[in-house]
């Protein structure tokens, strides 16, 4: 188990910075998700920690020791690759023994460790098979097994579930999480999937354009996003963003209609235009006479409820509801945004205002 500390870490391949001066502390035993869209630098960051790439600037420390110049093999970190990267010419047993043989452990000890890890992952009957004779889910497990058998200082996961189908992904999510609880090892998990980040991580590091946007617990990022990027990345269906004007006494006016009220943030004058963020599940339906009148555009049934696409003048928004009232495209309904639901953002910088 280890702490991993990044100080002002940057990476530039020569075509402009991929990572710009990052500071991050990953605590002992913590499960941290590096989350962001493709090209945000999350995988590069993981590879810097692994030692597969060298930082252009800054310092990486593992347990307080500077590792910038330390080879991957001497960092004692285990990595699970997106492609699994199983050695195709070796059996499952040989795959899992590789690292231990590399350390020249006695054969009896290797056998015991591999078999313990295999039984933990349900691989016992597959030890003599080659990777090509395994299903996607089994390969994924072998990749996990190869990592846990070493008992490393920390686990690095590079989008390990993205090659699995939805059902298997959900199951592996649970298993990785359970494994983390049992082993208590520091884990860094790269994903572009906000559901994975939300469900698995103790803390999420939201990355965009090579810079950290926000660090915090999943709930914290969900409830209090620091900017438009984080607000829009987390949640499904995603947060609604509407062009709004701040009217006196904190009224938020969208397309001439007052949609919500906030206690006006200091320094914001009435008449300021801003971006209003509203989570679909925080909105409620009512009669058109009681709430803001909006028109139903499309209704999607999800099983647990319905996602209703609404039109407010030329602007569109979505609402998630379990309200059973009949809804048809073209109906006019009332929309209520309860206090606390509206989040305000600067439309230019994207920064949170309230």
């Amino acid at each position: 188990m280890a702490t991993i500390t990044l100080s002002n870490v940057s990476k530039d391949y020569g075509g402009g910075p991929v990572l710009r001066g990052m500071d991050l502390e990953i605590r002992e035993g913590e499960f941290v998700a590096l989350m962001g869209p493709s090209g945000c630098g999350k995988s590069t960051l993981l590879r810097l920690i692994a030692g597969l790439e060298e930082p252009s600037g800054g310092e990486i420390r593992i347990d307080g020791r500077r590792v910038n110049e330390v080879a991957p093999k001497d960092r004692d970190l285990a990595m699970v690759f997106q492609s699994y990267a199983l050695y195709p010419h070796m059996t499952v047993r040989e795959n899992m023994s590789f690292a231990l043989k590399q350390r020249r452990l006695p054969p009896a000890e290797i056998k015991a460790a591999v078999e313990a890890a295999a039984s933990k992952l349900g691989l016992t009957g597959l030890l003599e098979r080659k990777p090509k004779a395994l299903s996607g889910g089994q390969r994924q497990r072998v990749a996990m097994g190869r990592a846990i058998v070493r008992n490393p200082k920390a686990f690095l996961f590079d989008e390990p579930l993205s090659n699995l189908d939805a059902r298997l992904r959900e199951q592996m999510r649970y298993e990785i999480r359970k494994l983390h609880r049992e082993l208590g090892a520091t884990s860094v998990y790269v994903t572009h999937d906000q559901v994975e980040a939300m469900t698995m991580a103790d803390r999420i590091v939201a990355l965009n354009d090579g810079a950290i946007q926000q660090v915090g617990s999943p709930q914290d990022l969900y409830d209090n996003p620091a900017n438009l990027f984080v607000a829009g990345f987390l949640g499904s269906p995603p947060m609604n963003f509407l062009d709004a004007t701040l009217a006196p006494e904190g009224a938020l006016v969208v397309e001439g209609q007052t949609l919500a009220h906030v206690s006006p943030p200091a320094g914001l004058a009435a008449g300021t235009t801003l971006t209003l963020g509203l989570r679909p599940e925080r909105l409620a339906l009512t009669d058109p006479t009681e709430g803001t009148a909006v028109r139903v555009d499309v209704v999607e049934t999800t099983g647990t409820g319905r996602v209703v696409h609404l039109a407010l003048g030329p602007q569109r928004l979505k609402l998630f509801t379990m309200d059973p009232r009949p809804l048809a495209p073209g109906d006019v309904v009332g929309l209520v945004a309860p206090p606390g639901a509206p989040l305000l953002f600067d439309p230019v910088s994207g920064a949170r205002l309230s």
């Binding site: 080879a71 991957p72 093999k73 690759f81 590399q102």
Partner: protein
């Protein structure tokens, strides 16, 4: 493809005919080689245009093996080709791995120069190479041939090896390095076993190229003791006659090792030539 319309049958027949014509055209000289090697001397001219002689004989093979220097040429060729195959493959693997995995200064230049080296007609550089090798004592020597063949075969072999390495995901050696291996250990324990078919194909390709090379063998070596078999074949041509029967018999014998070798490696060779293209 599965639909059998008259049009597609016609197209398939044409396709098959075109292929058959090509194969016949390509293989007919080989057939003629075999036919002449089995034709007795007295029928050589009398039945010169018949597809198969009325009598066949193995006499030519017997005299080639017993009374000519061909076994010596064969041995020389074997030594030169095997050594060239090993050396060029070793050098090409190292270069191909570097091209495939590393970014280094001047990489584009190195690749460019290697490409350019493939563009000259070799006839142009025979004389300078002779002038370079003579003072080093490398003319009239098998070593000299090995040096020259290795030099000229390594560039293409390196590109071939590169395409084999490209087909192996980088993740594999990175996984090995995370698992505690140095880059060299990762290469030896993970990448090399997966490249064995590529190594065999490259080795075979170079072996074959060296095996059939005539120009340098003829120009650099004048003594029979260090002649390879393509140069040796010319020994069957004398001032007054050409001993076609023996020459063809020697040719058939020389064909056997490469033929067998190619049969084994051709699958890998095609794989290697297309690996890079498919991966894009």
């Amino acid at each position: 493809m599965s639909k059998t319309t008259p049009h597609s049958i016609g197209a398939r027949v044409l396709h098959a005919l075109a292929l058959a014509a090509f194969v016949a055209f390509a293989l007919f000289p080989l057939f003629w080689l075999l036919k002449v090697s089995l034709t007795p001397d007295d029928l050589m001219y009398g039945e010169g245009v018949r597809l198969w002689p009325s009598r066949v004989t193995l006499d030519h093979y017997g005299s080639v093996l017993r009374h000519s220097q061909f076994p010596l040429f064969f041995r020389n060729s074997l030594i030169v080709s095997a050594a060239t195959g090993l050396l060029a493959t070793a050098a090409a693997s190292a270069a191909g791995y570097a091209f495939s995995r590393f970014r280094f200064r001047g990489k584009a230049w190195v690749v460019g120069v290697m490409l350019v080296s493939q563009m000259f007609p070799l006839v142009i550089i025979v004389a300078p190479i002779f002038r370079l090798l003579a003072p080093l004592g490398l003319t009239n020597s098998l070593t000299g041939l090995v040096v020259v063949y290795t030099a000229f075969n390594t560039p293409f072999a390196a590109f071939l090896m590169q395409s084999f390495f490209e087909a192996i995901p980088k993740d594999l050696e990175e996984a090995a390095m995370m698992d505690g291996a140095t880059r060299f250990q990762a290469l030896r324990r993970v990448i090399l076993p997966l490249t064995l078919p590529g190594l065999a194909a490259t080795g075979g390709f170079v072996f074959t190229a060296a095996w059939s090379e005539l120009l340098f063998s003829l120009m650099l070596n004048s003594s029979a003791a260090v002649s390879t078999f393509p140069a040796g074949l010319l020994g069957f041509v004398s001032k007054f006659s050409v001993d076609f029967g023996q020459m063809m018999a020697a040719g058939v014998l020389a064909l056997l090792p490469v033929g067998a070798f190619f049969l084994v490696i051709q699958r890998y060779l095609v794989q290697g030539l297309t690996a890079g293209a498919v991966k894009g």
